[in-house]
Symmetry: C2
Subunit: 213 residues, 2 copies
DNA sequence: AATGCCATTCAACGCTTGTTGAAAAATAAG
DNA sequence: CTTATTTTTCAACAAGCGTTGAATGGCATT
């Protein structure tokens, strides 16, 4: 049957609910109820509500950063001195996020939506995004700088901003594209999203950051 | 002195606070306090908290849609039968959002951040975005379809999704790019954002939706 | 001066919230 | 089996929530 600990069930429930309704849109009683435990148990394991939120956010971040960094290192090793292409770098940035949804566990899907929630919020973004993802992002930007030697740093950062925005809306899985396209496209189809996003973003980088080699 | 009505002060305060903390992150007492009025006055003018939220969201939507549609109609009239280019269409989609921040009134800036909040949330997006913005978006997509005659509808919608994501993160003004770039780029600089976003997105559309004419 | 009407405040309601300390149950150690 | 230790529940708290009805104020029209 269900062999996962109550502690983990709280994390799972909180993850799903925070992702859907945000920090303030969810009560500890809703989380406890969804996890099938008493409301006081969340406090026993995690302390205050904010600490539970942080625990949810931290749980999967190391694993995610690691798999993205590995993907980057792999193409870097492949391409040697000349370094990977823009497409390869963006592919390494995005594809690891896709793998996380091939499993039956919906946890990763909820977690990615939570990242979108945090990243799109000034209030939460400042508290959580930089601490956990800045190093990784700078690593990718450094790789892009090498692949686009004519780019100014300003252009590079604005282009990354566009990439980050497109990615964030994808992770949010708002189903807006499902409605707009009349069902032709589906928010849940990360593979289709990245299949389109990678050439789209790569062309954008090249256009703005002018690569003539 | 301050000649704006208390009713409008409530809308302004709610707009700023909802944009920063979301619907559930703000109390009516905070809104009333920020507006300098009694908490019961919000209820008198707008009814329930949710109706106040809707009132805030509706207030500027017609004006915004109108100015974007006018911008599209203008380039359409200019270009006649052959229709406007991808760049012109995207320009018409984005630039009206920039004008709204040239005024000293911070209201529009808060409103755009609120749109970003709603658009990035499944819960609120379904309730509010479609109703107010779908017609306009379909109009722009139709124009893009004409400018990119070889594009499949799927490709077109996914490209629009990327555009919408980049725009949404810009509207959110999270100041993440400020931190990442070490102050080189600023979230508040919509003009720089669109100067980079327009060629970026246009190149993406052309790459994915293959224009060979 | 009196009247009616809208705008605004006051005071309070019932309810839910996050949090806590003590009791109880389950598990591990001796 | 007994004793510690950890996990879980129970019961309750003070605080803050959205909302409401009645009272007050200001401002026209009569």
């Amino acid at each position: 049957m269900t062999s996962i600990s109550k502690r983990d069930r709280i994390l799972d429930a909180a993850e799903a609910l925070f992702a859907e309704r945000g920090f303030d849109g969810v009560t500890l009683r809703q989380i406890a109820s969804s996890a099938g435990v008493d409301v006081a148990l969340a406090n026993y394991h995690f302390g205050k509500k904010l600490e539970l939120f942080n625990a949810v956010f931290d749980r999967r971040s190391a694993l995610l950063n690691q798999s993205r960094l590995e993907a980057l290192r792999k193409v870097q090793a492949q391409e040697g001195d000349k370094g990977p292409s823009v497409e390869q770098i963006i592919e390494a940035f995005l594809r690891p996020l896709e793998l996380t949804q091939e499993t039956a566990d919906p946890g990763w899907r909820h977690y990615l939506a939570l990242i979108a929630y945090v990243n799109n919020s000034t209030y939460w973004g400042k508290r959580m995004m930089s601490k956990l993802f800045d190093d990784l992002v700078q690593e990718f930007i450094q790789a892009l700088r090498k692949a686009l030697p004519n780019a100014s740093d300003q252009d590079l950062y604005w282009c990354y901003h566009n990439l980050s925005g497109a990615l964030t809306l994808t992770l949010a899985q708002t189903e807006r594209i499902d409605a707009l396209s009349g069902g032709l496209c589906r928010s849940s189809d990360f593979q289709a999203a990245y299949d389109h996003m990678i050439p789209f973003v790569a062309a954008g980088f090249r256009q703005v950051c002018g690569a003539q080699d």
